[in-house]
């Protein structure tokens, strides 16, 4: 039975390939945890870097990443939700809607370093914001748009058509229907999209290279027009630009960054799972 042999061989190879994908993922995560956990202490999380960043902590970088994530949220959420409502509720198969969709697909595909160039040309130089939290947040916010829009659109579309028909048949206008009958049911899905988008933004290095990131800042930023340190850029700096950097500090920084990003991803996953369970239609 030649084809039975082929069948067994094929299944074996496919399983092996899947293992080849999964095992390195586990290895990567375990390795960062095991090697990074030794560096983590209260001081590491709450102190400023000292001795040319070889000692002390990474608090300014952690704080910077949190500030930038907040800034990204402010820059991206209103526009993203508006665009998602437009795509889900207002665009029929119009030509404009097709253009918007094409734009979305392309925004999602633009390399992060090109967003960095755009931020430099548009926000830092043209709008004269300088390398600042404002410029960085706007750049990251625009980069995050496609992820949030497409997830939010899906969430809004998932609300059953009957809700809209009943609401409008009772005399509600289109916006009243959206505001009171559609959006409340779509909130968990929209939240998932926002958090996923923010987790991407928090881990990005390329867009903040020329728009906000500072090599080393002893003081914390005081306004939105200041520069700030950020975790991803800090990891880049200490692993390549500083000679004789203790490996533990590098792994520790990588672990903190990974924890920030993965905790956001996990939150999104939990919200999504709950939403699926609670859905009452």
């Amino acid at each position: 039975m030649k084809r039975q042999h082929t069948q067994k061989l094929a299944v074996g190879l496919i399983t092996a390939a899947a293992a080849l994908v999964v095992i390195p993922i586990i290895l990567v995560i375990v390795m960062i945890f095991v090697k990074g956990i030794t560096a983590i202490s209260w001081e590491f999380l709450t102190a400023k870097p000292s001795h040319g960043m070889k000692a002390g902590g990474i608090m300014p970088a952690i704080l910077g990443t949190l500030i930038l994530t907040l800034g990204t949220a402010i820059a991206c959420i209103p526009l993203a939700i508006g665009a998602a409502i437009y795509l889900a509720e207002y665009s029929s198969d119009s030509r404009l809607a097709r253009w918007v969709r094409l734009a979305m697909v392309n925004l999602a595909g633009i390399p992060s370093i090109v967003y960095g160039l755009f931020g430099l040309g548009a926000f830092v130089l043209f709008l004269n914001l300088g390398t600042s939290i404002l410029a960085g947040s706007l750049t990251l916010g625009i980069m995050t748009l496609p992820v949030v829009i497409s997830t939010a659109e899906e969430a809004i579309r998932a609300v059953p058509q009957e809700f809209r028909i009943v609401s409008q048949s009772l005399g509600a206008t289109r916006w009243q229907t959206i505001r009171h009958q559609v959006l409340p049911h779509a909130v968990p899905g929209i939240m998932t999209g926002i958090i996923l988008g923010l987790s991407r933004a928090a881990g990005e290095t390329a867009p903040i290279l020329f728009t906000v990131a500072a090599f080393y800042l002893p003081n914390l930023p005081r306004s939105a027009s200041d520069q700030t340190m950020a975790l991803p850029y800090h990891l880049y700096v200490i692993s390549t630009q500083v000679p004789a950097m203790p490996l533990a500090v590098q792994y520790g920084t990588a672990l903190v960054l990974l924890l920030v990003v993965l905790s956001l991803t996990l939150t999104a996953t939990v919200i999504r799972a709950r939403m699926r369970r609670r859905r009452d239609w």
Binding site: R3, T6, Q7, A10, V11, I14, T15, A17, A18, L20, V21, V22, I25, V28, I29, M31, L79, G82, Y86, Y90, S91, V100, L102, A103, M104, V105, N106, L107, G109, P111, S112, I113, V114, Y115, G116, L117, F118, G121, A122, I142, L145, T173, W175, S199, A202, E204, T205, A206, L209, F210, P232, Y233, L235, Y236, S239, T240, L258, V261, L262, T269
Partner: protein, 320 residues
């Protein structure tokens, strides 16, 4: 009252109630404003793509106007001496991306098959979040691991240095895998179960069913998965910058091509933008590289988007 009188009375009632009162007008103004804002938000995505291209052109256009094309596509990248040959950077990007595709496509497609056709449900529930987790790991973290852990291994394997195109390909492959796996799994899932049942019923093995029936039926989705994976790989910056060695020369053609250091387009921008003076030719050329990257990913995504359009149209036609 006759029926027509009742109808007429009701009509007048409704008409009276529908007369625009101040409150009604106010409500509708709000409605109008909000609807306009929503339309503008939708439109803004196209405006943003336009703005991105505009600002890239604004800073980068001198590259293509002031440098003769022959100089631009020459093989020497020495910006300090005014030599802006992009060829080594383009070859670097293509080499790393090609290597990543060679690793990621077979692995990604087979993993999607495993998840979709072979894995029992309990495995799926563990594997899928794990792959999503991979998508969530920041590129700088993977680059860092490539730098401290992968590069030494590759050097031990006999390469002159661990920082090579191949190291970049491996990291990029794993970064592109989540995209490739999730899109091709969707494509496989969209193939109707009847196809599989029919194939198995006439005596095909599971592998024959997958290879001869499911695969061809999911073809366009699988092609799209591969294209979007390529798009993701070619634009990746930080990880590649850390592990490819950043040597701006064209590796000698041969079997060990992948095991030499290269420098990609993205890494060049990231590494050099901090050191150039704004407005200089070097500065423009870095934006010029950005324009090339923008156009490349635009083309890839445009084609992938059209492919999906065709696929959806075909499915709506009831064939699939």
């Amino acid at each position: 009252m006759s029926l027509s009188q009742i109808a007429r009375k009701q009509y007048l009632d409704v008409k009276a109630r529908a007369r625009p009162t101040a409150r009604w007008l106010l409500g509708n103004w709000m409605e109008l404003i909000i609807e306009t804002l929503i339309r503008l938000a939708g439109l803004s995505t196209t405006v943003i793509v336009g703005l991105i291209f505009f600002f890239l052109l604004r800073e980068g256009l001198p590259t293509f106007l002031d440098i003769p094309l022959r100089a631009l596509f020459s093989s020497r990248w020495y910006p300090t001496q005014g030599l802006y040959g992009l060829w080594p950077l383009i070859v670097g990007s293509l080499l790393v991306t090609a290597g990543a595709v060679l690793i990621a496509v077979p692995l990604g497609l087979t993993t999607a098959i495993y998840l979709g056709e072979i894995a029992p449900p309990w495995q799926k529930e563990i594997l899928k979040p794990l792959i999503e987790m991979l998508a969530g790991i920041p590129s700088i973290v993977l680059g860092f691991l490539g730098w401290v852990a992968l590069a030494p291994i590759i050097q031990d394997l006999g390469a002159p240095t661990g920082l090579t195109a191949f190291s970049g390909s491996v990291i990029l492959a794993y970064m592109a895998l989540p995209t490739i796996i999730s899109i091709s799994e969707d494509a496989l899932y969209a193939v109707p179960k009847d196809y599989r049942d029919a194939a198995l019923a006439i005596g095909a093995t599971q592998w024959q069913t997958i290879w001869r029936v499911v695969f061809p039926a999911a073809r366009s989705g699988l092609v799209m998965a591969v294209m979007l994976g390529i798009g993701r790989a070619i634009g990746e910056t930080m990880a590649v910058m850390l592990v490819t060695g950043n040597a701006a020369h064209i590796p000698a053609f041969g079997t060990d091509m992948l095991f030499q250091p290269v420098r990609t387009m993205t890494a060049t921008i990231a590494a050099e933008m901090g050191e150039v003076s704004q407005g200089s030719m070097h500065y423009s050329v870095l934006f010029g590289i950005g324009i090339l990257l923008f156009l490349t990913t635009f083309a890839i995504n445009f084609l992938a988007g059209r492919l999906v359009g065709q696929q959806v149209a075909r499915r709506r036609g009831g064939r699939l």
